[in-house]
Symmetry: C2
Subunit: 146 residues, 2 copies
């Protein structure tokens, strides 16, 4: 029985994974992991997730360069949520170019964006998109955090 079998995977074989900034303590993003994503995260020390939309393993930062070096992997009391303590490359976790994905704040009955874009997503993803000889991807089609 391996440590990976202690995780209570849901009916899809996934668990939510939270990435928290080791320096600031900020919650950066939440994505999903399957067994392979968690095993690779543990083996490589770099955060890997499972993309539900693309239905494949996804190394955080593989397109953006905003990789996450993992300092610590934790699991909750009922073993169905993973918490990563990470060093966030570039200080940007979100595909919108913001440090954290949690930039919408409920204020007086509406969601307000309370955090500025640190880097234009067009800049972040430009190189790859040019290599592909494809039009710039819209951030909306990407996973949170990618």
């Amino acid at each position: 029985m391996s440590w990976i079998d202690d995780v209570k995977w849901d009916e899809r074989g996934l668990v939510p994974a939270i990435a928290q900034d080791a320096l600031t303590g900020r919650v950066l993003m939440v994505a999903w992991m399957d067994r392979e994503a968690l095993e690779r995260t543990a083996a490589t020390g770099e955060a890997h997730y499972y993309s539900r939309s693309r239905e494949r393993l996804w190394r955080k930062g593989e397109e953006s360069g905003h990789i996450q070096r993992v300092r610590e992997i934790r699991m909750d009391c009922d073993s169905d949520v993973v918490l990563l303590e990470v060093e966030q490359a570039g200080g940007i976790a979100c595909h919108t170019g913001r440090p954290s994905c949690f930039f919408q704040k409920l204020d007086d009955g509406r969601w307000v964006t309370v955090e500025a874009v640190a880097k234009d997503p067009k800049e972040i993803y430009r190189t790859l998109d040019q290599e592909r000889d494809a039009p710039l991807s819209t951030p909306q089609t990407r996973e949170p955090g990618e």
Copy 2:
């Protein structure tokens, strides 16, 4: 169109909700919310969740007394995860009597409990169980954090 409609509820009508300690920055727990739980959380300033096992609304601390006063409600970039900044009553979020539910750490291929129990769960839940004239509940049957 209300702010609650901006949330992207999953096929079960739920989203994951993270509670983060406003003082320490620690991630305390993750539970699920339905529309009613989020609306009540916003309206009352106390964290409410949806219990999947009990299939009902659940006010955090209703049994343990370990309520969560909500300072801020945030949502992520694709609007399917909620983040609460909370003041944790009693300094204990976990049903095991620990400050945080994330007390299992991956260490050299196994999960190690790295945090001591601050208060015996039997103490936490004693009053209620006596009132019910029922045997002490086993913590394993409770929701994470309750």
